[in-house]
C-alpha cells in the first residue's frame, strides 16, 4: 500500500525525491539510529536526519513547492517520516540512557557489609526508671510527689517523728551527723529516712493530703546488702476516717501495679515505729526460681517464703501534731520502702553496690531506653 501510494512521488510529482530514495534514506536513518552505540552517535544521527541541514529537514522544505492540491499528501508523508525518526531517536535515547545509568550504578556499588556510623546509645538508671514508675502508679491513686532536704535537722528527722533525744530508736538509725547546727540550734544530719518529708508536707500543705516522697537517704551502714546511701519512697495520706484497711488496699494496689501481678499476697505483721501507731510491717510472698526471688503467691505456699518489703502504720498523733494538724480531726497512714530493693526485685539485679558505681557495662545492661517512659496505658513496667 505504502509503496503504491509513494509511487505518486515518482509519477505525479517531480520533487527530486524518488520513492526509491525515500525508502532507502528512511531505512538507512532508522538503521543508523538503531545502531547508535552512544548518545553522541545518536545525536549525530539526529543532526544528519532532523538537524537544520538534515536530509529529512531538507525534504520538509520541499513541501512548500508542491501544488496546493497535493500538499496534504506530501506533507503527511514527510511528516510521518519525521515523526517516525523522532520516536526512534527517543526510544534509542531512552535505551542508551538506561544502559548508561545501569553502568554508572554498577560502578557505584559499595560494600554494605561495612559498618555504618553508630550513634552512641544512652540509658536511664534503673533507680530513676523505678521512681518514674512509682510516681505513675501513685498518681493514679491521687498521690502528688513531695520533696525535702537531704541535709536535715534532727527535729524534722527525729523529734517531730516522735523520736525525742533519748529515744532508743534513734540509736538504731546509724545516723550521719554534721558538726553544724542550724539557726534554730538544731543538729544537722543526713536524713535517715524520707519520713521528715511527712512533717514538711503537713506543715506546708495542711490536710487533706496524699503525697509520696522519693529520694536519697543515708545510714552509716555498709556491707554486701547495705550501702551508706540508698533510696526510699515515703507515702502519706492524711484525711478523715482513714484506717488500716485503706493502708492495706493502697499497698496491695501499689505492689500489684508495680510487679504487674494479680497474685501478689501481702502479710501484715504488727511492728513498731515511733512515728506510727499502730505500726505494721509488710511482707510479700515470693518463690525462689533459679536463684532469683520472684514475687507472687502466698509466702506460706510450698516453695514460697515471705520477705519484708515495707514499713507502715497509722500516723502517730504526735506526728500529726508536729505537722501542725489536729489529731482529733485528722488521721491517716504512712509507709516507706526501699526503691533500690524494689528495682532489684523487679528487674533482677543482685548487687546493690553496683547501682552506684557508674559502670557503663552495667548501665548498658540494666539501664532503660529514654523512650521507655512508664505510662498507665503503655504499662509502668518495661518487660525484657
Amino acid at each position: 500500500m505504502e509503496d503504491v501510494e509513494l509511487r505518486k512521488l515518482d509519477e505525479i510529482l517531480d520533487l527530486g525525491v524518488t520513492s526509491e530514495q525515500y525508502h532507502s534514506t528512511r531505512r538507512k536513518i532508522l538503521q543508523a539510529i538503531e545502531e547508535a552505540g552512544t548518545l553522541v552517535d545518536l545525536e549525530r544521527e539526529r543532526i544528519a536526519s532532523l538537524g537544520k541541514a538534515g536530509v529529512v529537514s531538507q525534504w520538509l522544505k520541499l513541501i512548500g513547492t508542491v501544488p496546493p492540491e497535493n500538499r496534504p499528501f506530501v506533507s503527511s508523508r514527510f511528516n510521518r517520516l519525521k515523526d517516525e525518526i523522532t520516536s526512534a531517536l527517543a526510544a534509542r535515547r531512552a535505551m542508551l540512557e538506561a544502559a548508561a545509568l545501569d553502568a554508572r550504578l554498577a560502578a557505584e556499588t559499595i560494600d554494605l557489609s561495612l559498618p555504618a556510623p553508630e550513634a552512641p546509645k544512652g540509658s536511664v538508671h534503673p533507680i530513676s526508671q523505678v521512681m518514674d514508675e512509682l510516681a505513675e502508679i501513685f498518681a493514679d491513686m491521687g498521690f502528688a510527689v513531695a520533696t525535702g532536704p537531704e541535709i536535715e535537722d534532727d527535729w524534722h528527722n527525729f523529734t517531730a517523728l516522735n523520736m525525742p533525744e533519748s529515744h532508743p530508736a534513734r540509736a538504731m538509725h546509724d545516723t550521719f551527723y554534721f558538726p553544724d547546727r542550724n539557726g534554730g540550734g538544731r543538729e544537722m544530719l543526713l536524713r535517715t529516712h524520707t519520713s521528715p518529708v511527712q512533717i514538711r508536707s503537713m506543715l506546708a500543705q495542711g490536710a487533706p493530703l496524699r503525697v509520696i516522697a522519693p529520694g536519697r537517704v543515708y545510714r552509716s551502714d555498709s556491707d554486701a546488702t547495705h550501702t551508706p546511701m540508698f533510696h526510699q519512697i515515703e507515702g502519706l495520706v492524711i484525711d478523715k476516717g482513714i484506717h488500716l484497711g485503706h493502708l492495706k488496699w493502697t499497698l496491695e494496689t501499689f505492689l500489684k501495679a508495680f510487679f504487674e501481678r494479680d497474685d501478689i499476697v501481702l502479710r501484715l505483721r504488727p511492728s513498731y515505729f515511733p512515728f506510727t501507731e499502730p505500726s505494721v510491717e509488710v511482707d510479700v510472698g515470693y518463690a525462689n526460681e533459679g536463684g532469683r526471688r520472684v514475687v507472687g503467691g502466698s509466702g506460706d505456699a510450698p516453695g514460697h517464703a515471705w520477705m519484708e518489703v515495707l514499713g507502715s502504720g497509722m500516723v502517730n498523733r504526735r506526728v500529726i501534731e508536729a505537722g501542725g494538724l489536729d489529731p482529733d480531726a485528722w488521721q491517716g497512714f504512712a509507709f516507706g520502702t526501699g526503691v533500690d530493693r524494689l528495682a532489684m526485685l523487679k528487674y533482677g539485679m543482685d548487687d546493690l553496690r553496683a547501682f552506684f558505681d557508674g559502670d557503663v557495662r552495667w548501665l548498658s545492661h540494666y539501664g532503660f531506653s529514654a523512650l521507655d517512659v512508664p505510662t498507665l496505658s503503655g504499662g509502668v513496667g518495661m518487660p525484657v
Partner: protein, 808 residues
C-alpha cells in the same frame, strides 16, 4: 532475743509445735528471725556401739572400727580418735549426713585403702561443745540405733527481733504472755514467794541519786557454794546465746532472760561499807566485767561502796566485786534505774550490754520484790545459803497509767470490727485492767496499763494491742476514695523538668549514673563552691565519703576513671541530682543539677572517619544547649560568656570553657574542657569535656498559659539567603557578630548562621574572616533590589559597630 521451746513451755502451757509458735509470734509482732532446730541438724546421726577396733594397716593414727548401728550388719568405719575402742557407745554419722560444725556431707569412701561407712563424731563436730580430743562417749546403756537427736533431746531455739517498745518481751515470760493472749496456750502464773529473811540485811543499802536510781533493793545470802551450774541451766543459757559462768552469775542471767529483769550479785567479802547508788564523780574509773576500764562522769549513776565503784548502774558490773568460785556470801541487787539515764550513759561510754538494752527500754517497776524472791529461790536451789531480810532504798516510780479508750476506735483506726467483749478479753490477757461498759462502743473505758508496758500511752496504742492480737490478717482492704474532679499532674514543674532532661540526655547517647552524695574531702575541695564551705560529716563511714558534693562532676569523673581503668574507650556519663551548698541560717541549699562527663574517644577509629577523635568543648556545648532546650530554657536568649568571676571556675581549661547565661548574672550552665590539673587529680587520661547544668536556675513558665500555642501561619513568600563575609579583629567572639547581624533588621532577618571562620591567605594579620548565611523572610511582598540593598546596609552598619568590615 533467743530462747528454747522448752523454756518457753515452762511459762506457756501449750501443745504447739515450734512452727506454730513461730507463726503466731510473727502474727503478733514478735518477728521470728530464725529457728534453730538441732533435731534437723542432727538428722543422720545415731547412737552406735563400737564392736571391734583394729589398727589401720596403712596409718598409725587411724583405727578400723566395726560399729553396731542397731540394724543390719555392723558397719566398717575408719576413725582417728584416740579414745575409739571396742565397747564404746558413741555417735555415728551415716553417709548422707551433714556435719553441723563444718557443713561437710559424709560419704561412703575409702580412707587409705580401707572402706569407711561414716564418721564417729566429737562434740565439737556436732556443735554440742568444744571437746575435740576424742569422739563422744555416751553411757554404756545408751540405746544403740536410736536417732541421736531423739536421744539428745534436741530442743529447738527460736530467735525473735524484739522491737524497742517491748521491754517485757526481753524476757521469755513476756513472750509467753503475748502468745497466751493470742490463744496459743495458757500462761503459767509467776508464783508469789515468801520474801522474808531469817536475819537483818547486814549491809546498808542506800540511793543517793533518786533521779537515776529511784529504787535499790538488796539482800544478802550467806553460806552459798558457787560452782558450775547444773546442765539444765547451762543448756538454757546456751540456748539463749549466754555463756554459763558460775551458778551465782548464771542465776542472775537466768532471771534477766526469763523475766527481762537484770539483777546483780556482789561478792560480799569484796565490799566495804554501805552500798550506795550515787552519781559518779567526774573522772572516776571502773574496771568492768568486760575487762575494759571506763572513765565516768557526774551524769552517770553508779553503785559504789567506800572502796569505789562496783557497778556502772544498770549497764555492767565491776570486775573487782563479781562473784567467783570462792564467793560464800553474796549481796543481791535489784534496782530500778531511769531509762534515759541508762541510755545516755551507755551512749556516752559506747557500751552495750544485755542489762542496758532492758533498762533503757524500761523494765517493770512493779517487779522488784517478786524478782528478788525468785532470784533468791533460784540461788538457794543452786548454791544453798541463808537469805537475809530485804533492805529497800527508795521506791520505784509508781505509775498506774490509765488510758481512756472507746472500743469504737478499733474499727475507726484499725479498720477491723472487734466486739467489745473480745477487746476486753484481749486486754485482760495482756495484763491490762479494763473498767467500762461493753454496750456502748463510743463510751470510753478506763484502761490501766500494766507496769511492764511503758510503751502504752494513748488510745491508738490500745488499738494496736487489740488489732495485733485479734489478727492483722482480719483487716480487710478498703479502697481509698478517689478525689473528685479532673486528674491533674501530681509532679511539680521541677520534677517534670528533671524527668525531661534525664530522658533527653539518655536519648542523646549519655548513660545515667547515680553516684554517692559524699566525696573524699580532697575531691570536693577541687570543686568547692568557695563562698560557703563544704558540708563535712562528723562521722563519715570512711574518709572517701566525708564531704557532701558541691558539684556532680567529681563523682562522675571518678566513675569515668573507673570505667577507663576497666578498658572503656568512650564515656558519655551524666547524673541528675543535688549538689549541696550552704543555705541561710545554717540550713542546706540543695540544688538540682545535671552533670555530664565526656571522656575517651568521641568517635572510634573507623574506615570512614580515620583516626579516633577525642571530645572537645563544642561537644559539651552541643549537649548543654540541647538539654537546656529540652528543659525549656530560652536557648536563643542565652549568652556564651568567657570565664569570669561567675564561672566556669578554675576546674576548667581557661581558654576552652564558658558559662551560658540568661542576662548578666543568671548562670544556667558551665561547660568546656576540664583543666589538665583537675584531670590529673582525678586520674583521668586524655582530654575530658564536662558540663554542669543548673536546673534550678532555669526560669519556670509564667502563669497558667493553657494549651493553645500562639497563632502561626507559615509565610506565603519564599525565604531567601544572602551570604556576608566580614573581616573582624581576631579576638572578636564569633557569637557576638552573629548576634548583632541577627538583630540588625528584625523585620526581615529570620536567622543568621556562621559557616566559615578563616585565617590565612588574603586575611590581614590580627584579623579573621567570618562568613555568615543570613536568611531573609519577606512577609508582604517580594524583595526588590532596593529592599535587599537596604538590608545589606543595615547588616553592614550593625557589624561595623564590632569593627567588622564587609569583604568585597
Amino acid at each position: 532475743m533467743k530462747f528454747s521451746l522448752s523454756w518457753l513451755k515452762q511459762y506457756l502451757e501449750t501443745e504447739a509445735t515450734v512452727e506454730q509458735v513461730a507463726a503466731r509470734l510473727n502474727a503478733i509482732g514478735l518477728e521470728v528471725e530464725g529457728i534453730e532446730d538441732p533435731a534437723a541438724k542432727l538428722s543422720g546421726f545415731r547412737v552406735a556401739r563400737v564392736l571391734t577396733a583394729e589398727r589401720h594397716p596403712q596409718a598409725d593414727k587411724l583405727q578400723v572400727l566395726t560399729v553396731d548401728t542397731g540394724e543390719g550388719d555392723p558397719l566398717q568405719v575408719v576413725c582417728g580418735a584416740p579414745n575409739a575402742r571396742a565397747g564404746l557407745v558413741g555417735v555415728l554419722g551415716l553417709p548422707g549426713a551433714t556435719v553441723p560444725a563444718n557443713g561437710l556431707v559424709l560419704r561412703k569412701s575409702a580412707i587409705r585403702g580401707v572402706e569407711s561407712n561414716g564418721m564417729m563424731c566429737s562434740t565439737r563436730e556436732l556443735e554440742l561443745g568444744e571437746d575435740h580430743d576424742g569422739i563422744i562417749e555416751l553411757p554404756a546403756d545408751a540405746p544403740v540405733g536410736m536417732a541421736f537427736a531423739e536421744y539428745h533431746g534436741a530442743d529447738p531455739v527460736i530467735e525473735v527481733a524484739v522491737t524497742p517498745n517491748r521491754p517485757d518481751c526481753m524476757g521469755i515470760y513476756g513472750i509467753a504472755r503475748d502468745l497466751a493472749a493470742a490463744g496459743l496456750g495458757t500462761l503459767q502464773p509467776i508464783g508469789a514467794l515468801d520474801i522474808s529473811g531469817s536475819y537483818p540485811c547486814p549491809v546498808e543499802i542506800r540511793t543517793d541519786d533518786p533521779e537515776g536510781c529511784p529504787a535499790f533493793y538488796g539482800r544478802v545470802i550467806r553460806g552459798v557454794r558457787n560452782g558450775p551450774s547444773p546442765q539444765w541451766l547451762q543448756d538454757r543459757l546456751k540456748s539463749a546465746g549466754q555463756r554459763p559462768i558460775s551458778a551465782l552469775v548464771d542465776a542472775t542471767n537466768y532471771m534477766m532472760l526469763a523475766h527481762g529483769r537484770p539483777a546483780h550479785a556482789y561478792d560480799l567479802a569484796k565490799l566495804n561499807g554501805p552500798v550506795v547508788a550515787r552519781r559518779a564523780k567526774d573522772g572516776e574509773t571502773v574496771a568492768a566485767l568486760n575487762e575494759k576500764t571506763y572513765t565516768l562522769d557526774s551524769g552517770m549513776t553508779v553503785i559504789a561502796d567506800d572502796g569505789g565503784v562496783h557497778d556502772i548502774a544498770g549497764i555492767m558490773g565491776g570486775a573487782h566485786s563479781g562473784c567467783g568460785e570462792e564467793t560464800t556470801d553474796v549481796l543481791l541487787e535489784i534496782a530500778y534505774f531511769d531509762p534515759e539515764r541508762i541510755a545516755a550513759t551507755g551512749r556516752k561510754l559506747n557500751l552495750t550490754s544485755d542489762a542496758r538494752s532492758r533498762f533503757e527500754r524500761g523494765i517493770d517497776p512493779g517487779f522488784l520484790d517478786t524478782g528478788l524472791a525468785h532470784l533468791t529461790e533460784l540461788i538457794q536451789t543452786l548454791c544453798g545459803g541463808e537469805a537475809s531480810e530485804v533492805m529497800r532504798a527508795g521506791t520505784a516510780p509508781d505509775r498506774p497509767r490509765i488510758v481512756h479508750f472507746a472500743p469504737a476506735l478499733v474499727e475507726k483506726l484499725g479498720g477491723v470490727r472487734v466486739e467489745p467483749g473480745e477487746q476486753k478479753r484481749i486486754l485482760a490477757s495482756l495484763g491490762f485492767t479494763v473498767v467500762g461498759e461493753e454496750a456502748n462502743w463510743e463510751e470510753e473505758w478506763a484502761v490501766t496499763v500494766p507496769g511492764w508496758r511503758p510503751d502504752i500511752d494513748g488510745a491508738p496504742d490500745i488499738v494496736e494491742e487489740v488489732v495485733r492480737i485479734h489478727g492483722l490478717d482480719k483487716v480487710e482492704s478498703v479502697a481509698l476514695p478517689r478525689a473528685d474532679g479532673v486528674a491533674r499532674p501530681t509532679a511539680t514543674s521541677a520534677q517534670k523538668l528533671e524527668r525531661r532532661v534525664r530522658r533527653a540526655a539518655a536519648a542523646r547517647g549519655l548513660h545515667e549514673a547515680v553516684t554517692w552524695s559524699f566525696l573524699p574531702e580532697a575531691d570536693a575541695e577541687v570543686f568547692a563552691p568557695g563562698n560557703g564551705g563544704l558540708w563535712l560529716l562528723s562521722n563519715p563511714i570512711s574518709e572517701d565519703m566525708k564531704a557532701m558534693r558541691p558539684s556532680l562532676l567529681p563523682g562522675l569523673l571518678s566513675a569515668a576513671r573507673r570505667n577507663l581503668d576497666r578498658g572503656a574507650s568512650s564515656l558519655r556519663l551524666f547524673e541528675v541530682g543535688r549538689r549541696y551548698l550552704r543555705g541561710e541560717a545554717g540550713t542546706s541549699d540543695e540544688r538540682l543539677t545535671l552533670g555530664l562527663v565526656l571522656a575517651g574517644e568521641k568517635t572510634p577509629r573507623g574506615w570512614v572517619t580515620g583516626k579516633a577523635a577525642p571530645f572537645d568543648a563544642y561537644d559539651a556545648k552541643a549537649e548543654v544547649l540541647a538539654l537546656l532546650a529540652e528543659a525549656g530554657a530560652p536557648v536563643e536568649k542565652l549568652q556564651v560568656m568567657i570565664p569570669d568571676a561567675l564561672g566556669p571556675g578554675p576546674q576548667f581549661h581557661p581558654g576552652q570553657s564558658a558559662t551560658l547565661r540568661l542576662g548578666p548574672k543568671n548562670v544556667l550552665a558551665r561547660f568546656g574542657m576540664l583543666h589538665p590539673q583537675v584531670a590529673k587529680h582525678f586520674d583521668v587520661e586524655g582530654p575530658v569535656a564536662v558540663a554542669e547544668l543548673y536546673l534550678d536556675a532555669i526560669p519556670g513558665r509564667k502563669g497558667a498559659a493553657g494549651f493553645a500555642r500562639s497563632h502561626y501561619a507559615p509565610p506565603a513568600l519564599q525565604a531567601l539567603t544572602r551570604d556576608y563575609a566580614f573581616l573582624v579583629p581576631a579576638g572578636l567572639p564569633a557569637g557576638d557578630l552573629v548576634r548583632v547581624v541577627q538583630g540588625a533588621d528584625k523585620a526581615n532577618i529570620a536567622a543568621a548562621r556562621l559557616f566559615d571562620d578563616f585565617r590565612g591567605q588574603g586575611v590581614p594579620e590580627g584579623q579573621k574572616s567570618l562568613a555568615l548565611e543570613v536568611t531573609l523572610q519577606p512577609l508582604e511582598k517580594s524583595y526588590q533590589e532596593a529592599d535587599l540593598k537596604a538590608i545589606t546596609d543595615k547588616v553592614t552598619a550593625a557589624a561595623a559597630k564590632l569593627g567588622a568590615v564587609l569583604r568585597g
